[in-house]
């Protein structure tokens, strides 16, 4: 979406949603069907797994595994009623 920045050497998969003001540093891999909320900043060389969801305003410094739902700074897994 608007004002998103994708830096050098990034690989963005199919059906990925990058909301407003997402910033991807260099050498990032975003796998298919991932969703990044608004104002998410992703550190260089990070990989975001397929179908992962990252909440808005988060700072992503480590890899996010597939199917994970994560948010906040420091990035933590958001617990759903299914997982708890």
């Amino acid at each position: 979406m608007a004002y998103t920045h994708v830096a050098h050497d990034c690989i963005v998969g199919d059906h990925v949603i990058l909301a407003n003001n997402v910033n991807l540093a260099g050498h990032i891999t975003i796998e298919d069907h991932a969703i990044l909320g608004g104002l998410v900043a992703v550190h260089q060389f990070v990989k975001v797994g397929a179908h992962a969801m990252i909440g808005g305003g988060s700072l992503v410094m480590k890899d996010v595994p597939p199917f994970a739902k994560a948010a906040r700074d420091p990035l933590v897994m958001k617990v759903s009623t299914v997982l708890a």
Binding site: F45, K47, K62, P66, F67, M77
Partner: protein, 55 residues
């Protein structure tokens, strides 16, 4: 697909050590495409996997 919460339960709630969690996941969770995808992703990870759980 319904095994994904179980996999993450092993990783983030039952174990603080990813290696132990992977061993338990391989022993206790039936084979599925999602399990393979998650374990392959962790094996390929260079920066390490995010930590922590938030209630």
């Amino acid at each position: 697909m319904d095994r994904i919460p179980d996999i993450y339960r092993f990783m983030f709630i039952k174990h603080r050590n990813i290696s132990k969690a992977i061993r338990d996941i391989q022993d206790n969770i039936p084979e599925s495409e999602e399990k393979l995808q998650i374990l392959n992703f962790i094996a390929r990870s260079e920066r390490g996997i995010m930590k922590g759980i938030r209630r």
